[in-house]
Symmetry: C2
Subunit: 398 residues, 2 copies
């Protein structure tokens, strides 16, 4: 006899990325598929040192339960950092520590979404945000996006004509999957529309610290006049993802609701991981460390962009990202990135086809390239092969 | 303008325990309120050593993303441990690593529960399980429990007469809050009824390793003929809770659904915490370590039981737990444990009144005593004062 699962289970599928990642576990595969940071840049020595200090000075505290909200000194640092860099006005009580920024999305679904509610998002958008929100039974309306961000006219039109919109989900800085960054005007406008239509915004920001060029822009949250905007962040890309420490920042009354929801979900995040990060931030210069990461990723971005220009056939569009981990390829209409992937996997090259990043439509002629996790020569070799496969494919179908 | 939260938010309240715990943060408070393990027993030295080994030998892996399922050697150890102690037949693919056993409950809600579904549970039951399941919009039916476990006749009656029952939630070993342990017959019968009525069981087992006397009993899962039973476990009480590492074990097809749900929830648990535990288990004798914990807690249980017998007025019932962290007090009818708590807090003594452990009814004349987190002299002093307060209270209302 089959068990009765919740209705949501019929729409929850295996993440295509996680499935492709399994293929890429073989050592000789060149993978542009994940969103993995470069492990050779993890501050292993420093973490080892700080770990010992924390265990020696406060071992019983570091291994015991702590508050759901998270370790206070870490929340203080996060609030200060956001205020300095992103133009917000926050203190520690605006911050809840979460299991990566991913958990901020899941908790947002739990706090805001009933079955049949509508979430507005960029088209395309982060695929694990789609799964996080979908598990609360919502529907998506995709808002078109150009090189400056979400189209604010279309957004306003949808906001004014659609019932039960509960959330607007955006990644305005070095977007996943496109690598695009919203300009200042769109950020301000989104905050205005959020207030006007009383719809909260989840501003997902796991990559914002990784800027290769240009000026850091204020967050959408910094234009929040009414307290409707929540902003995530993460130590995964600037420190290490293995700790699973991120956060969500917002109005204190809303964050208190998130805290209640997190209590029933998993009580709290890893205590010692929070204390180790806080101690590291006290003893070391995180900006210097981020500087190192940015330098490496910038070079890899440069190589990736150059190789795409060089090896890919004409008529292909791609993003020149100012930061973050990804660029986004648009093939000519009618070419399926899944077909290209199949041929590439035979040659031991992997990437994620773009279809999964659209909650409703599938634009099959797109794919995402991650450049943060491999040395330059591998990026070059891999993109050269992908370019050849695309050339051949176009030649064949002509 | 007020934001529109999800309907579930109207029923999610602050955990009474977490609120009382805030009061108990003052150093001179004697608290029987939490479920905290004794921090002086955490293997700090060993964790420090093993941490260094893991970072030295596999630092980049330990700090990077890993699979949602969790670290394979740890899942292998868990399966083997359960097979040896609890009579199951599992391998690593039956195990998903979770953020404590608490997350196993939340994921169970997500996998099984739609709004309006029914969860059957012991009366009383673990209060954070109530919040975890309630956030998926379910209703509860409480099944009465005696000193041998849940009443199987009433359970069968409810199963045969009630629609949309989706889960049976139980804590058969050293139950939270009552400290009671189900006998073998009830365990076997529950598995039979679960198969007969095709309703999955969540067997929550975070305390099972902490047995002070008597024989370890096979788990309900060990009688699972059809693959309907899921069983949680945790390193929080036998290693340390700060790592937030637990698990859920079950049929492989069901666990795959849990994995999909966890992907969207928070991707995975802390990588290095999983590797450190696995390395510790390889290098050290966990049974010896658990033996130390059991010895300390047994003495504390003995002191607690003796003090209740000695200082509490006649007509009070309480559990003599064979293991775990809690005993459960039933005051004479008409006496409110919340009133007693109020008077005790004035004298800087804290505990959790029983009302919160009932999803529907509030039996106000009950409360829970945790004895694991304090030295014996404090247990003695605290229970003496609670006894005096109850005596006075009974005298006053007469």
């Amino acid at each position: 006899m089959k068990l009765n699962f919740a209705k949501r289970m019929s729409s929850i599928k295996a993440s295509e990325i996680r499935e492709i990642l399994k293929v890429t576990e073989q050592e000789d595969v060149i993978s542009f598929a994940g969103g993995l940071p470069a492990p050779e840049l993890f501050p292993i020595e420093e973490i080892n040192e700080v770990n010992q200090i924390v265990l020696k000075e406060a071992g019983t505290k570091a291994l015991q339960y702590t508050t759901t909200e998270g370790y206070a000194p870490l929340r203080e640092w996060i609030a200060k950092r956001m205020n300095e860099r992103l133009g917000t006005l926050l203190d520690k009580d605006n911050i809840l520590i979460t299991h990566g920024s991913q958990q901020g999305l899941d908790l947002s679904g739990k706090v805001f979404l009933d079955e049949g509610d509508v979430v507005l998002c960029e088209s395309p958008t982060y695929l694990a945000a789609i799964s996080a929100f979908k598990s609360y039974g919502c529907n998506f309306i995709e808002i078109p996006t150009d090189e400056h961000g979400m189209d604010m006219n279309i957004l306003e039109d949808v906001l004014s004509h659609t019932g039960n919109i509960k959330l607007i989900y955006v990644i305005p800085t070095f977007q996943n999957p496109t690598g695009k960054t919203w300009n200042l005007e769109r950020r301000r406008k989104l905050a205005e529309l959020s207030a006007q239509y009383n719809v909260p915004v989840i501003e997902d920001n796991p990559y914002g610290e990784l800027r290769f060029e240009g000026e850091t822009l204020p967050s959408v949250k910094s234009f929040d006049a009414v307290g409707n905007i929540l902003c995530t962040g993460s130590f995964s890309k600037i420190f290490c993802p293995g700790f699973r420490i991120g956060w969500i920042a917002g109005d204190k009354d809303i964050i208190r609701k998130y805290v209640l929801v997190k209590q029933g979900t998993d009580l709290q995040c890893n205590t010692i991981a929070q204390m180790v990060i806080a101690e590291y931030l006290k003893r070391y210069d995180i900006d210097k460390h981020i500087g190192k990461i940015v330098e490496v990723y910038r070079k890899r971005r440069d190589v990736a962009v150059k190789c795409i220009e060089c090896y890919f056939p004409e008529g292909i569009k791609f993003t020149h990202p100012e930061g973050g981990l990804f660029t986004w390829i648009e093939l000519p209409e009618g070419i399926s990135a899944r077909d290209i992937l199949e041929k590439c996997l035979e040659k031991k090259i992997a990437f994620v086809p773009g279809g999964s990043f659209y909650p409703n439509e599938n634009k099959e002629n797109t794919f995402r390239i991650n450049y943060s996790n491999m040395p330059e020569e591998k990026i070059k070799k891999g993109l050269q092969i992908i370019g050849e496969v695309i050339q051949e494919y176009i030649h064949e179908i002509k």
